[in-house]
């Protein structure tokens, strides 16, 4: 069996991801269109939240991916710190804008949902606040990569930032449990069936979550390829300049 570390080789990574990308991209599109159309057109109103419950198909998957994208970056950063594989550092870099977009969608849909249900766009609730801080960490991470010319130094410093930001990624997930206060409700999905949303909302929600996960994977593969090529291009241009 091929070792996972073979994919630390940029050529091997690009060759394999080239084969996988069209399938993952197509599956993501199918799941997203199916889940969103199902959720928007073919689910009933909630007895308490009315038609606003349809926002769940965007809000929950994007919030889930906002947190998990950072955790993926954490794993990739740790691999960089321990094993110095460039592909892992570049994968973390590639994932950051995708995670930031997921966080923006979660915050925007949360505000739009909160206004009619809570009567306010924003409140300094533990979960909302930790999500806002997570967004600032994403923006800081992206800015730090852009600000440092040397790729290895940038990878080192952003990896440390990623470790620190992981605290807020975890806080975003567990804030409701740590501080039993604030407007935000508990988790919509749970292994405990009693706590889950009703089946009629649950199934399209699962399809949407699958769509968001697959879209994240497809975008990270594509953007990692781009980062690998950009890094090689910088190296070739530097070699050319030196004569």
């Amino acid at each position: 069996m091929a070792s996972l570390w073979e994919y630390a080789n940029p050529r091997k990574f690009i060759a394999t991801s080239d084969r996988v990308l069209p399938w993952v991209g197509a599956l993501a599109l199918i799941c997203l269109v199916t889940g969103l159309v199902w959720g928007f057109f073919f689910t009933p109103e909630d007895y308490r939240q009315g038609a606003s419950v349809k926002i769940i198909y965007l809000h929950v998957p994007s919030a889930l991916m906002a947190i998990n994208a950072w955790l993926m970056m954490l794993v990739a950063s740790l691999i960089w710190i321990v094993r110095r594989h460039h592909v892992s550092a570049l994968a973390a870099r590639a994932a950051a804008p995708v995670g930031a977009v997921m966080t923006i969608i979660a915050l925007a849909t949360g505000a739009l949902w909160g206004q009619p249900i809570w009567g306010t766009w924003w409140v300094w609730d533990p979960r909302l606040t930790s999500f806002l801080i997570l967004l600032l960490f994403y923006l800081g991470y992206i800015a730090l990569w852009a600000a440092i010319e040397n790729d290895d130094t940038a990878a080192d410093l952003t990896s440390v930032l990623c470790l620190v930001g992981s605290v807020f990624a975890l806080l975003s997930r567990y804030a409701v449990l740590f501080w039993n206060q604030g407007l935000h409700q508990g988790a919509s999905l749970s292994l405990d069936k009693e706590e889950n949303v009703a089946d009629v909302f649950y199934l399209p929600l699962l399809v949407c979550i699958a769509g968001f996960v697959l879209l994240f994977v497809a975008l990270v593969l594509l953007r990692t390829q781009t980062e690998i090529r950009a890094r090689r291009m910088r190296a070739l241009l530097a070699r050319e300049r030196m004569g």
């Binding site: 969608i105 925007a108 849909t109 009619p116 050319e240």
Partner: protein, 51 residues
């Protein structure tokens, strides 16, 4: 079109903003990927010609 009642603004703007941002992210990623692939191929070809 489902009946959205008083939530019409919240629901439609959530879908509009989210789908718009996701399409923009995909488009930017694809355009940059294509540009980088082309530029790298040009540089590699130039360096091969220059020896």
């Amino acid at each position: 079109m489902p009946e959205l009642g008083k939530y019409v603004f919240a629901v439609l703007s959530s879908y509009g903003i989210s789908v718009g941002i996701l399409i923009a992210l995909c488009a930017i990623s694809l355009i940059r990927a294509r540009r980088m692939r082309r530029e790298l191929a040009e540089i590699e070809q130039r360096m091969r010609q220059d020896g």
